[in-house]
Amino acid sequence: MRLRLVKQGTNFDFFKRWKLWLGISGLMMVVAFASFMIQGLNFGIDFRGGTTIRTESAQPVDIGVYRDAIAVLELGDVSITEVFDPTFGPEQNVAMIRIQAQEGQEAVTPEIIASVESALKTVRPDIKFVSVESVGPKVSGELIQTAAIAVVLAIGAVLIYIWLRFEWQFALGAVLALVHDVILTIGVFSELQIRFDLAIIAALLTIVGYSLNDTVVVFDRVRENLRKYKKRPLNEVLNISINETLSRTFMTSVTTLLALIALFVLGGDVIRGFVFAMIWGVIVGTYSSIFVASAALLYLGVKRDWSKPDANAGNQYANIDA
């Protein structure tokens, strides 16, 4: 007996309340955006400059002690967080120390890093500095700009591709879904204050790719069914198409999530934020390809006379409407 995530021949009505779904999606986007505007993202040093030092010691991390040791150096805003991870051994007590970019200094000063390191050594003689990263404000400003351009370019390129392959309504629907995914992901990062660094941009773009993958598969079926069922109303055609691809949608989401969850649990804390973004993106992307992209398509309407004959089906009646 085969494992079936979705029963064969489902017939859910995804569009009974499509306006409601669009409304909910819109509302979530507003909430996410508001959170982003009010709280802002917890930018890593990639985007706002500064220094992070990752320390490791056999003794437990005591944030207060660390803070007192560093406070005398008067480096401005210093944040210290302890890092927990199931992959750590018992002797591995890890902390992340973040120091803001110092006023008026473009280049990174090794003196500051050395002074922090020696200050910590006095309270924890066995402490090791497993990674030290510094980014100057000049580069970080550029990085955020490049990242934003990358996301916009990716969405733009995709818009054009889908427009060429389908129709503009499809392109718009797909892009709406993408914007939805990106905003919701940024919203989650701002709400949970997870560190937002360069790798998260990579995750964002992957989400764009994944969500698109999903949307395109549904749209491909919609295109096929529009040729097949010429007289049926659009919402029925959309519904049939989503139901037909539902099994595949779930299969792919589940395999991808399986892989990502393995990485989330076992992949170490360094990339956990990155993997979290992708897990979130897969879930949101799957949702959005049905409830945003397709619903938007329903709202926009689509040209019903596909004058191009369907090469695959070899349908002799393909030109009947033309």
Binding site: A107, P110, L212, T255, A259
Partner: protein, 553 residues
């Protein structure tokens, strides 16, 4: 019906075989790495028994290309430096003054006396006492201009000369500045490379980024500050005439002079002539040595033109002091005892042996033409890298196993076909990564894991389609064929769009992000290949052998 030409079959298997063949060395990473290192060492002349033994760890006839591990996996240091190209303008202008003076001297009768005036760093202002002679003076100074040596700056001269009352103002032209910037960055790049090579680390990355930046990544080095010590000092060595020695850093140096501190003696400042007699660029060799008192020192030797200038100067100025200046600090200021004709000498100072060795390396590699400003620096300890590799390995294996089991449970025999393709797929990714010498980073591993999840997508699309076609009962062969045919457009569209985003990531991203884009992009290519060709071939081969009346997908 279900037919694949023999030549196609051979081509598909051949592609898989070549990919796996290229990927194989990665399975024996440490051995192959030692083998490769040994070969390199032997080429460089270190033909020791250990190296020969290491070389034997991996047969010569097997491929030995490996996937490079990124800094975040191997540990090491990363620096992003900006070349301060403006530094060079000042040096150029300092050098222009003696030239202008010498050119105008014979025309004293028309232009009068010539005086250097204080000016901004990137220009020279010269006052002449007879403004009537200005046209002649301008003509002479313009005669010093040289055409710019670039393709774009055709017909442009390197300097602009204009008159402001009784002042002659000389500046670098825009074309010359551009050309100089280009040269400065190229030269800096070259010198950084030479310095890092002198230290001899494995696979450093030294790349130009944008117009003025240089990216330096050195795996295996202890820290970014260590790396900065190797490349960070400009080691600009000059020999300047000393005007006076004093203790006041704020004293007026006089035009054409400058005040620099002493390296060893705190509170001592020298006033020196800004235009050097000879510079470190004319050195041909520098070696660590010891002076007659047994203290560490550096021996140096000039090339012929440097030796001549140095010889002439020492012959004319016996008894007066001259300064050996390193990066705007006076290392020592000996008095010239006699004419030094041979063009070689010794720099003494309060060096440790290590410092003198480093200084010799720096002098030998050449001075950086301009200062570097470090915009970004990262040090990743080897332990963290190893932890990441271990975690990444386990995660990949678990993810892989989970997907394999899940696919088998869902699609049975067809799931097994997809699994075989998935394994080949991973092999192909590593083969391609080794082939193009790409660098695997931690996000890159995430990209592979994501590929594992998404690679099955194409197969899922096909299998689901076959299931659907089976429902309309066309017989298994026809259903399989239609399944592949009809799923194709969805597969292609879906993967092309993802590939577009991977390409943009690659183009815009840097470092680890780029590593992710590479694995994701390659993963898309290989997964489409394995889904469309490999699983299909497997299915067809099975079908031909069994000729089943019904199939269950």
């Amino acid at each position: 019906m279900l037919q694949i030409d023999l030549w196609k079959r051979i081509l598909i298997w051949l592609t898989c075989a070549v990919g796996l063949w290229l990927a194989m060395p990665n399975a024996f990473y440490t051995n192959v790495e030692r083998h490769n290192d040994a070969i390199q060492a032997i080429e460089l002349g270190a033909d020791t028994p250990e190296n020969q033994a290491d070389r034997g760890l991996w047969p010569e006839w097997l491929p030995s290309g490996l996937v490079n591990l990124g800094l975040d996996l191997r540990g090491g240091a990363h620096l992003l430096a900006e070349v301060q190209v403006e530094d060079v303008y000042a040096a150029r202008m300092d050098a222009a003054w003696p030239e202008i003076r010498d050119a105008l001297r014979p025309e004293r009768a028309t232009v009068g006396t010539i005086r250097l005036q204080p000016s901004a760093e990137d220009e020279v202002r010269v006052r002449i006492s007879q403004p009537e002679g200005m046209p002649r003076a301008l003509e002479i100074v313009r005669g010093l201009a040289r055409p710019v040596q670039t393709l774009t700056g055709v017909g442009a001269n390197d300097i602009n000369v204009r008159a402001e009352g009784d002042l002659i103002v000389v500046t670098l032209s825009e074309e010359e500045k551009l050309a100089t910037d280009e040269r400065t960055v190229q030269q800096s790049l070259e010198i950084i490379r030479r310095r890092i090579d002198e230290v001899g680390t494995r696979e450093p990355t030294i790349q130009r980024q944008g117009a003025q930046r240089i990216l330096i990544q050195v795996p295996g080095i202890g820290s970014a500050s260590e790396l900065k010590e190797i490349i960070g000092t400009t080691a600009q060595l000059t020999f300047n005439p000393v005007v006076t020695r004093g203790t006041d850093p704020e004293a007026a140096p006089g035009i054409g002079n400058k005040i620099v501190p002493s390296l060893d003696e705190a509170g001592v400042f020298y006033t020196i002539e800004a235009a050097p007699v000879v510079t470190g660029e004319e050195l041909v060799d520098a070696q660590p040595a010891f002076d007659q008192n047994g203290r560490p020192a550096v021996n140096f030797r000039f090339n012929t033109s440097g030796a001549r200038k140095f010889g002439d100067y020492t012959a004319e100025n016996i008894g007066s002091p001259f300064a050996i200046v390193l990066d705007d600090e006076v290392v020592s200021a000996p008095t010239i005892q006699s004419h030094i004709p041979g063009g070689s000498g010794i720099i003494t100072g309060q060096f440790t042996v290590e410092e003198s060795t480093n200084l010799a390396v720096l002098l030998r590699a050449g001075a950086l033409p301009a200062g570097l400003e470090f915009l970004e620096e990262r040090t990743i300890g080897p332990e963290l890298g190893q932890d990441s590799i271990d975690a990444g390995k386990i995660a990949t294996i678990v993810a892989f196993a989970a997907v394999l089991v899940f696919m088998f449970l869902s699609y049975g025999l067809f799931g097994l076909f997809a699994n075989v393709a998935l394994i080949i797929n991973i092999g192909l990714i590593f083969g391609l990564l080794s082939l193009i010498g790409a660098t695997l980073t931690l996000p890159g591993i995430a990209g592979i894991v994501l590929t594992v999840g998404m690679a099955v997508d194409a197969n899922v699309l096909i299998f689901e389609r076959i299931r659907e076609e089976l429902k309309t009962s066309k017989g298994p062969a026809r259903a399989i064929e239609l399944g592949y045919e009809k799923a194709l457009s969805a597969i292609l569209d879906a993967n092309i769009t993802t590939f577009i985003t991977a390409t943009i990531l690659f183009a815009m991203g840097s470092g680890p992000v780029r590593g992710f884009a590479i694995t994701l992009g390659l993963g898309i290519l290989t997964s489409v290949f394995t889904a469309i060709f490999v699983t299909r071939l497997l299915v067809v081969m099975w079908f031909e052998r069994r000729r089943p009346k019904t199939i269950e997908v």
